[in-house]
């Protein structure tokens, strides 16, 4: 996983709640095993019914063509568990999503891929959104995970919270499987215990 410590980029306001994975990375766009994740992102919203580009969609506006951060509302990433909804962000240069809240699985998928999910609440969120809207892509914001701050035009630095373990994992780009494999003794001793107490869990035999 690519490490994350600091990221500077244009912040794109996508100010809706409950944006779901069908919107972020539509499955109907599936083109086989070699997906074009860059083209997948918000594929439907980016186009009009006749297939031409929709100039009103925020990511199609000239100032937001090279995004770095996405700023959005409540429950971002609701719906499917598909990780393409995170990969398509990264393929477009978006390494930070600032939301009022995230759907559980989506947030997990972000952490697995070095995409920083930042939650801002209440006034802090509204003030930051107002700044992003005001700046309108004319100047970038910088997200510093070490100092847990967002800095940029239009106001003071914004401090954000993140669980220390999630922060470390992103900063060090830790291999998730490698972390777990350090516990292999524990996993094997769990299996022995289950075999002794609930043996049906440790085997799958077709009785026919």
């Amino acid at each position: 996983m690519e490490k994350f410590s600091r990221h500077t980029g244009i912040a794109v306001p996508l100010l809706k709640d409950d944006i779901n994975t069908d919107q972020i990375a539509p499955v109907l766009h599936s083109r086989g095993l070699k997906e074009d994740y860059r083209a997948m992102l918000f594929h439907r919203a980016r186009r009009r019914e006749d297939g031409s580009e929709n100039p009103d969609f925020v990511l199609n506006k000239p100032q937001f063509r090279s995004p770095g951060l996405l700023v959005t509302g409540q429950n971002f990433g609701a719906g499917s568990s598909r990780e393409s909804a995170v990969w398509s962000m990264l393929a477009n240069g978006i390494r930070v999503i600032v939301a009022k809240s995230f759907a559980d699985i989506y947030r997990e998928n972000c952490l697995q891929n070095g995409l920083l999910p930042i939650v801002l609440g209440g006034d802090q969120a509204d003030n930051f959104i107002a700044r992003v809207v005001e700046v309108d892509g004319k100047a970038p914001f910088t997200v510093d995970l070490v100092g847990q701050r967002i800095s940029g035009p239009g106001g003071d630095d914004v401090a954000f919270e993140i669980a220390p373990a999630d922060r470390t994992r992103l900063l060090e780009g830790l291999d998730d499987i490698g972390l777990t494999l350090k516990h292999m003794d524990g996993i094997m001793s769990w299996e022995r215990r289950a075999q002794a107490t609930q043996p049906w869990l440790q085997s799958t035999r077709d009785s026919r």
């Binding site: 409950d18 779901n20 499917s80 516990h183 996993i187 769990w190 299996e191 049906w200």
Partner: protein, 469 residues
């Protein structure tokens, strides 16, 4: 200490705490599907890591598989690469695959319980957000992404933050033609699409006890639509009777031993929950979604809500939904013309779902111009339904009777509606463009979907069956 069932299952399966503070939770059963598995197989190969417990891992072809009779790998051209990669990955890694032509092929969430692969008190993972469907037999299930899927293949554990506990009490008997789908839709309408976020949800109460296992699965299936991390029903005698004799359940003395343990899988009387809510089901009528998320739901006798009647924070979403659905506030749902009806998906494709729909359809005809489909959740369900003659009931009424798969739920296999069509669907998501570009989805139960196919309009199944419509 008084414990909830969630705590009992979690604590038993907790291998330890990882350096980053996450709990390592042992996964007893892992079921893959072809849409996501190939990424994981490729990654493991790159990392030169083996599948640790192929014997606890199963695989199905469901998301991209065609439903046309006589289908093969190539029937859905955009699925064929996924299907072949799945076959190859399972062969290389020694994983049991229910392949395209397997008599037990089907949707993962239907196949795992019907074969007894998933058990009460077991942990279960699927790279699909509807994983907790199997909570209907008392398993604790988690949907996961591709990275987590790879992680489980390599380690047989998931690294999770312990969710909070929530209990949903559902009391009261369900009225005629009202079932778990209606209960779940009402619940999502009440608490919203993020109402259970961060929580493992136990469904309890007399209404839950009173419904068959398949309906408990429908209830748990829709848990993710209110944001829940997992959802389950404590197993009881109905569960044990349902499971007995299924191919992969323990046999003989092992069954007795397992059964004795399963009887302990209850929430203690004084267990504490982080959140509790209750819903009286006795006055519930059939429910239907009117908008573009699963919380935009009304009773079948209701109308598209006026924005002023909605919570302020739901008004912005509603404004978009009126436009997309081409429905104005105040329009009664009953009578809205439909173009298409879909009965199927992991939500509502088990035998009792098809029986409920067939009971409405029998002796009637699908309305002129309506395309109506039934897609059984597994090849086993299809066979059982055919043995009961349900295929004839549907076919004679003008329904398409398909081979099993996810089909029109997300359209990953090419089954989808035409732009502008209105579809009454027994699936789980009414998101924009999900069932095809510009397709307008109304979520409902199999009975309501069947009645709407016959009427050619959204219909109140109760009125149709009492002869009033």
């Amino acid at each position: 200490m008084q414990q909830s069932l969630f705590d009992k299952i979690w604590d038993f399966h907790r291998v330890g705490e990882r350096a980053d503070g996450r709990d390592l939770l042992y996964i007893d059963r892992h079921v893959l599907h072809e849409l996501h598995a190939h990424h994981a197989f490729t990654r493991l190969e790159q990392q030169q890591r083996p599948v640790r417990r192929a014997d606890l891992t199963f695989a199905v072809q469901d998301h991209t598989i065609a439903t046309a009779p006589g289908r093969d790998d190539e029937t859905n051209p955009s699925g064929s690469a996924f299907i072949k990669a799945m076959r190859e990955g399972c062969r290389k890694n020694g994983i049991k695959l229910f392949d395209v032509d397997d008599p037990e092929q089907g949707i993962s969430h239907v196949v795992a319980p019907e074969l007894g692969i998933v058990l009460p008190g077991a942990t279960h993972a699927v790279p699909d957000s509807h994983a907790s469907t199997v909570g209907g037999v008392g398993a604790l299930a988690f949907g996961c992404g591709t990275s987590e899927l790879t992680h489980i293949l390599a380690t047989q554990v998931m690294a999770l933050k312990r969710p909070k506990r929530m209990r949903v009490r559902l009391d009261g008997g369900l009225g005629a033609h009202v079932n778990a789908k209606d209960v779940a839709l009402r619940l999502i309408a009440e608490i919203g699409v993020a109402g259970a976020r961060g929580h493992a949800v136990e469904y309890a109460g007399s209404a839950v006890r009173g419904i068959p296992i398949e309906q408990r699965m429908t209830l748990c299936n829709l848990n993710i639509e209110m944001g829940g991390r997992s959802g389950f029903v404590a197993p009881d005698d109905a569960t044990f009777t349902w499971l007995a004799g299924r191919p992969f359940v323990p046999q003989g003395t092992q069954w007795d031993r397992a059964l004795a343990h399963w009887r302990t899988l209850t929430t203690d009387d004084d267990a504490v929950f982080d959140r509790e809510i209750a819903l009286d089901c006795s006055t519930l009528e059939p429910q239907i979604s009117w908008g573009t998320d699963p919380s935009q739901v009304v009773g079948i006798s209701g109308s598209v809500p006026d924005p002023t009647a909605l919570d302020p924070h739901r008004r912005a979403a509603a404004a978009g939904a009126y436009a997309y659905m081409n429905l104005s506030p105040g329009t009664p749902l009953v009578g809205v013309p439909v173009d298409r009806v879909f009965i199927g998906s992991c939500t509502n494709s088990r035998l009792p779902d098809l029986q409920a729909a067939a009971a409405i359809v029998r002796g009637r005809r699908v309305a002129e111009g309506v395309i109506a489909m039934v897609v059984p959740g597994s090849s086993s369900v299809k066979r059982e339904a055919e043995a009961l003659g349900l295929d004839r009931v549907f076919r004679e009424a003008g329904f398409f009777w398909g081979e099993s798969g996810c089909s029109m739920c997300a359209g990953g296999n090419g089954d989808r509606g035409q732009p502008g069509e209105r579809c009454v669907s027994t699936t789980n998501r009414n998101f924009e463009n999900r069932q095809g570009p510009q397709v307008r989805t109304h979520l409902a139960s199999p009975a309501t979907a069947a009645a709407s196919a016959i009427a050619g309009r959204i219909a109140d199944v109760r009125r149709m069956m009492s002869g009033a419509a």
